[in-house]
Symmetry: C2
Subunit: 144 residues, 2 copies
């Protein structure tokens, strides 16, 4: 669980380092969002609206358009990945390696599947001249 001793400054330090890795200027808004996303070092799956609401409830003043623009900037900088599981909204993931996801259909939540669990032991022959950009595995869950 999260260490309760962690300070806001510690989160911001991580946020700043993270932005630096992406070559992005540490503006107030980016730093606020980055701190929320990676401040505690855990992997996150957020939607734009969700992050906007989270920032607002944390007292950060960031416009919704900036949240969208910033998430896109984070993706372009290679700091996050966009995940599409639901046509009506986009999810953004702070974890960069290929890994499978659980998608909770009734609550519209996305989470990591235990990484040891999914084993793709073989990929199909790829079409001529093509390479794999990414392999997305989404395990859609419903109440049993």
């Amino acid at each position: 669980m999260t260490d309760p001793i962690q300070t806001t400054e510690a989160w911001q330090a991580r946020g700043t380092a993270w932005l630096e890795r992406g070559g992005l200027r540490p503006t107030r808004q980016r730093l606020a969002l980055a701190s929320l996303l990676v401040g505690d070092g855990m992997d996150r799956h957020v939607t734009a609206e969700g992050l906007f609401a989270w920032a607002a409830s944390a007292g950060e003043k960031v416009s919704l358009a900036t949240v969208y623009n910033t998430l896109r900037a984070f993706c372009d900088a290679g700091l996050m990945h966009e995940i599409v599981v639901d046509g009506s909204r986009s999810y953004f993931d702070t974890r960069l390696d290929d890994h499978a996801h659980f998608y909770w259909e009734e609550s519209h939540r996305l989470s990591d599947a235990p990484s040891e669990g999914v084993v793709i032991s073989q990929l199909p022959a790829l079409p001529e001249g093509m390479e794999v950009a990414r392999v997305d595995v989404v395990i859609r869950l419903r109440r049993a």
Copy 2:
């Protein structure tokens, strides 16, 4: 390849049988779309706009709203599956069994991956009280 001897009547017969399987009334528009989708017995991946354009170029008069409604009806009837790979549009697949897809990022096309190719040899432990609704595997391709 498609057998050039096949007649429109043969497509319609398949379309009618297909609609029947889904318990859907064989209206002119549904029959037209069904014939395009399953008339030749091949698996198809279409977008609503794409199917609308295809129908129009085949001389079928169907409104875009009806294409959307009809594709949804086909999905609800269990005749097709909706596949989400691109936040900006939905794809609809006539093939019903779990199988992996190739997504051609630059052309925004979706196709089946050779079924023998992908082997998921193990699934992760599922959360308590949950079951798998579906497992989506999308292999995103880019030019090498």
